[in-house]
């Protein structure tokens, strides 16, 4: 009985093969970086929304659903991809008297929302600044549920934050709402909105 044993030795790469390999790796890495950059720029792309009548302008995420026809806000954008709650940013303007304070505006918002949102309650209230203007910041939570009674959805706990700043007889309210577990993760969207908010 004869047994054949095949023994192979790896031949060393030629110069061309070695550099082709390096080039392929570099190219792949470059494409990956380009892809990530493109993705990030796309995800972080913004568009400008403004309301000349109220004198408010801000940068909001692009490719979010923009609504400028609401009765109680100047504009509102919602992330269509977010699940289960559509991350919401909105800017509203309330007409107030000369003696109004940000706290008064927050009180009005709380009274209004208590009758509209299930289990609405205020969590905290703190002083803040919007650029050089004094502002008031309020964090709150409520339960959101599907309005269409034909659909079965579990209620969601929504956390929200309002920042109120007074400009003459206008109170500008900037709002961010997110499902409670993702609230902190997407808070930077709110901060970005505040950074780009112009009241003129």
């Amino acid at each position: 009985m004869t047994e054949f044993v095949e023994i192979r030795e790896s031949a060393p790469l030629t110069f061309t093969q070695r550099w082709n390999t390096y080039l392929a790796i570099v190219l792949a890495a470059g494409v990956m970086v380009l892809g990530i950059t493109l993705r990030d720029s796309n995800l972080n792309a913004t568009v400008t929304l403004e309301n000349l009548e109220s004198g408010v302008r801000a940068q909001v995420p692009a490719n979010w659903l923009q609504d400028t026809r609401g009765e109680d806000y100047l504009f509102r954008v919602r992330d269509p991809n977010a699940v289960p709650f559509k991350t919401t940013l909105q800017v509203s303007v309330l007409t107030v008297g000369p003696d109004a304070t940000p706290d008064l505006v927050l009180n009005l918002l709380t009274m209004q929302r208590s009758s509209r949102f299930a289990t609405y309650h205020e969590i905290s209230r703190s002083d803040a600044m919007l650029r050089d203007d004094p502002a008031k910041r309020m964090v709150y939570a409520y339960t959101e549920f599907e309005r269409n009674p034909a659909l079965q959805s579990l209620p969601m706990v929504i956390e929200g934050v309002d920042l109120v700043v007074l400009q003459g007889t206008q109170a500008v309210v900037v709002t961010y709402r997110e499902e409670q577990s993702a609230f902190d993760d997407h808070l930077y969207r709110f901060e970005s909105l505040l950074r780009t908010l112009e009241i003129f």
């Binding site: 609504d67 269509p80 991809n81 709650f85 599907e146």
Partner: protein, 758 residues
């Protein structure tokens, strides 16, 4: 080598798939719509109708515990939560104490309704037993923002187009809310005529409808609401009613006969035509209600039992609702027969009933089950059958009030056309200088002579005949003579007297038997042989001390919230029945018939409309009738003078539903967003602007979605093309253009989207 090729092909295919997914080509399951041979343009959609049917509960609190007092069904007639139902099951009464009106809705078609909302009564007619409710909050007390509700609803159809033997579908809740919404089918087997509502005051059906379905809906084949199943309300102190003891309302630890009993009634066979609800519905949709009216002195109420008297039959009703003839028998083949009678001490909402037996066998076809009275306190009424052949036999008509028989009358149907002498078609007027009868009407001015013209046939010379004139129920004059005219023709008789304002009647007899009768009203002064009763009409936006205030004109700017009409009147006797109507763009919103309770002469009588917010732009009409004869019609414009286009939401459209699933696991993706664009936009045009969006729905815990607005239809030749997008975090988005919706598209269109992870 082969393996290498295979690998390359796999890579190529995978790349192509990625590219396809990346550019967003549609990967939808095709819309599913049942194929059917020659479908009607829009077919009855049972699912939508079931979802639009609600369960209405009145509840009252005992020591803080909610107790149910009355129940019924109702139908959503607008997206924002207007509900049409019976007045008796939605308005508080002795039998139905109520603190809260609870609306339970159909969430799953095969499950009982779920209490979800509270509602308020916008307007109700106890006579017609119809009410319009508006959902005004959630059960936990939260308010509902205007326009935020997007509920399934149905449209009112034209109940006058319903014919004998038409198939109808009745939808409602069969029990106390323990069972799912139920659908019953039947045919139209007759119509019942009533004064003021005409030949089709009631639609009769062969369907067996439980009493709890009262207030629900009856639908034609197009899925439009054509009737409201209606059963008489329960009476707390009246006849024993079928009811159930459900709760321990007296808190004695037992639910027994000492507790409140929830009435369920028996079975329903009568439907109130939807046209009688149209005014209520339009007023509620427009946010208009009746405003204040001049203070008057209501007639003192007369104590005692209600009375029906002077019963007679007629086969024809004239244009003002009076009997054209009086018959003692009718030939075979007769299709219309009306029982006329006078009534007194009645009350709107009282329960009355007509039982008809033929040859001593009760026949439900010609009977009217217990229903609510809508004729007011006193007057002349009729009830009968129209458009339905009467079979030969001896008919007994028996009238009941609150379960007690109060009057009856018998008539023979059969044989050939009678050649007996008869008088018909009385009308009244004045003679001009040339001896011609002018100003013929049933409302005449004050004067000293009144002419009555009537037709006669088969009269023989010498036949004794007589006439009797009455004023306010008292005999004025009577005369008997032998007939001295032709066999047939027209004759005038004259009554000379000082005709004061009030209500009159003429009766004509042949050989002692009543052959014709008619009522007329004397009111106003003569102006060109006509009665001038009302005048000096003015519209205003306010009243101050009973006089016009604010802006006085007939053309108002948009935004006013009240509209008053003022008028003067003369020679109108207290107690005369008069009708006032408010119209918007020619459609009647409110119609009220009641006795005149002001002095005979006066100025600045006013009635008004009020808007919940501002009165919508439209042309507002105001009409006054006496004895069903329209005396005056005036109008005023507000804003543009016509209602905005699309004021009344249409339920004609298709529903888009479906499921969004993970392509790999086939499980639903909760929270995924389904967007339908307005038909003028394609996916490529979409700029993520809400104004381009027709409807959005978030998938529920099972991945199901339902676009909350109905998609308008195009035509067969030019269908509307819709574009849709589906988005969810962690998944590649999907989109598709060109989903066609035409008049033949079956609703709902179901779209299933499978998303791939990115």
């Amino acid at each position: 080598m082969m393996a290498n090729h295979l690998f390359r092909r796999l890579i190529l295919c995978a790349g192509l798939l990625v590219v396809l997914a990346g550019i967003g080509l549609p990967a939808f399951a095709p819309p599913r719509a049942a194929a059917q041979a020659d479908p009607p343009l829009v077919e009855l959609n049972e699912d939508v109708i079931k979802q639009a049917t609600v369960f209405v509960m009145q509840s009252f609190l005992v020591s803080g515990q909610p107790m149910i007092s009355c129940i019924g069904s109702g139908t959503l007639i607008s997206r924002d939560g207007l509900i049409l139902t019976n007045a008796h099951s939605a308005t508080p009464s002795e039998a139905c104490p109520s603190d809260v009106l609870v609306i339970a809705i159909t969430v799953r078609l095969d499950e009982p309704p779920i209490p979800t909302y509270t509602a308020e009564v916008v307007d109700a007619s106890h006579g017609l037993d119809l009410a319009v409710l508006r959902i005004n909050g959630y059960l936990d007390g939260r308010e509902i923002l205007p326009g935020s509700l997007e509920l399934p609803f149905v449209e009112l159809g034209d109940s006058l187009n319903v014919g004998l033997d038409d198939t109808i579908t009745i939808v409602g809740y069969p029990t106390f809310g323990n069972d799912p919404v139920e659908v019953t089918r039947g045919t139209v087997n007759g119509f019942t005529a009533e004064a003021r509502a005409g030949d089709r005051a009631w639609i009769r059906t062969s369907a067996v409808i439980p009493g709890t379905m009262s207030g629900g809906g009856a639908y034609n084949r197009d899925g439009q609401l054509i009737g409201i199943p209606t059963i008489a309300p329960a009476r707390a102190g009246g006849e024993a009613v079928d009811c159930r003891y459900l709760q321990d309302t007296n808190l004695d630890g037992r639910a027994d006969s000492g507790d409140h009993c929830v009435p369920v009634g028996g079975f329903i066979s009568a439907l109130r035509p939807s046209r009688l609800a149209r005014g209520l519905v339009r007023a509620a949709a427009l946010g208009i209600r009746q405003g204040e009216i001049s203070a008057t002195n209501p007639a003192p109420s007369q104590d005692g039992e209600p009375v029906f008297s002077r019963l007679f039959f007629s086969t024809r009703v004239n244009e003002v609702g009076q009997a054209s003839n009086v018959v003692g028998s009718v030939p075979a083949g007769t299709t219309s027969l009306y029982l006329f009678f006078d009534y007194n001490r009645m009350e709107d909402g009282a329960v009355y009933e007509l039982r008809v037996s033929v040859d001593n066998v009760q026949d439900p076809t010609y009977s009217l089950p217990p229903v609510t009275w809508s004729g007011g306190r006193r007057g002349t009424w009729y009830i009968g059958t129209a458009g339905l052949p009467l079979r030969n036999g001896l008919y007994d008509f028996r009238l009941f009030i609150e379960g007690r028989e109060v009057a009856s009358r018998r008539i023979l149907v059969g044989g050939g056309p009678a050649d007996e002498p008869a008088f018909t078609d009385i009308i009244f007027g004045l003679l001009d200088a040339n001896g011609n009868l002018v100003g013929t009407s049933y409302v005449l001015p004050e004067g000293s002579a009144i002419q009555a013209r009537f037709n006669y046939r088969n009269m023989q010379p010498g036949t004794p005949w007589s006439f009797v004139w009455y004023f306010e129920g008292q005999e004025l004059t009577r005369d008997t003579a032998a007939w001295d005219g032709d066999q047939q023709g027209t004759r005038l008789i004259t009554a000379a007297a000082d005709f004061l304002a009030g209500q009159y009647r003429l009766e004509l007899y042949i050989d002692g038997a009543l052959s014709a009768t008619a009522d007329f009203v004397i009111a106003g002064a003569a102006e060109s042989a006509r009665a001038a009763v009302f005048g000096n009409f003015r519209f205003a936006t306010a009243q101050a001390g009973g006089a016009p205030g604010g802006t006085i004109r007939a053309d108002f700017p948009a935004g006013i919230d009240r509209l008053y009409v003022f008028f003067d009147w003369r020679l109108l006797a207290p107690g005369t029945m008069w009708t006032r109507r408010w119209l918007v763009d020619g459609d009647v919103l409110f119609e009220i018939t009641e006795p005149w309770n002001a002095p005979p002469d006066g100025e600045n009588f006013f009635a008004s409309l009020a808007g919940l917010a501002a009165l919508p732009d439209a042309t507002y009409g105001f009409e006054i009738s006496i004895a069903n004869v329209t005396r005056q019609s005036v109008s005023a414009r507000v804003g543009l003078g016509q209602l905005p286009v699309g004021t009344f939401a249409s339920a004609a459209g298709i529903q888009m539903t479906g499921r969004i699933i993970d392509a790999e696991t086939q499980e639903g993706i909760p929270g995924a967003m389904f967007i339908v664009l307005n038909p003028e936009y394609s996916v490529e045009d979409f700029l993520w602007d809400q104004s381009q969006v027709l409807g959005v729905s978030m998938a529920d815990s099972e991945g199901r979605f339902q676009i909350p607005v109905l998609l308008p239809r195009g035509t067969e030749d030019d269908p509307l093309l819709y574009s849709v997008l589906v988005q969810a975090e962690g998944y590649l988005p999907l989109s598709a253009d060109g989903i066609a919706v035409s008049e033949e598209t079956q609703s709902p269109v179901e779209i299933n989207a499978a998303l791939s992870r990115n």
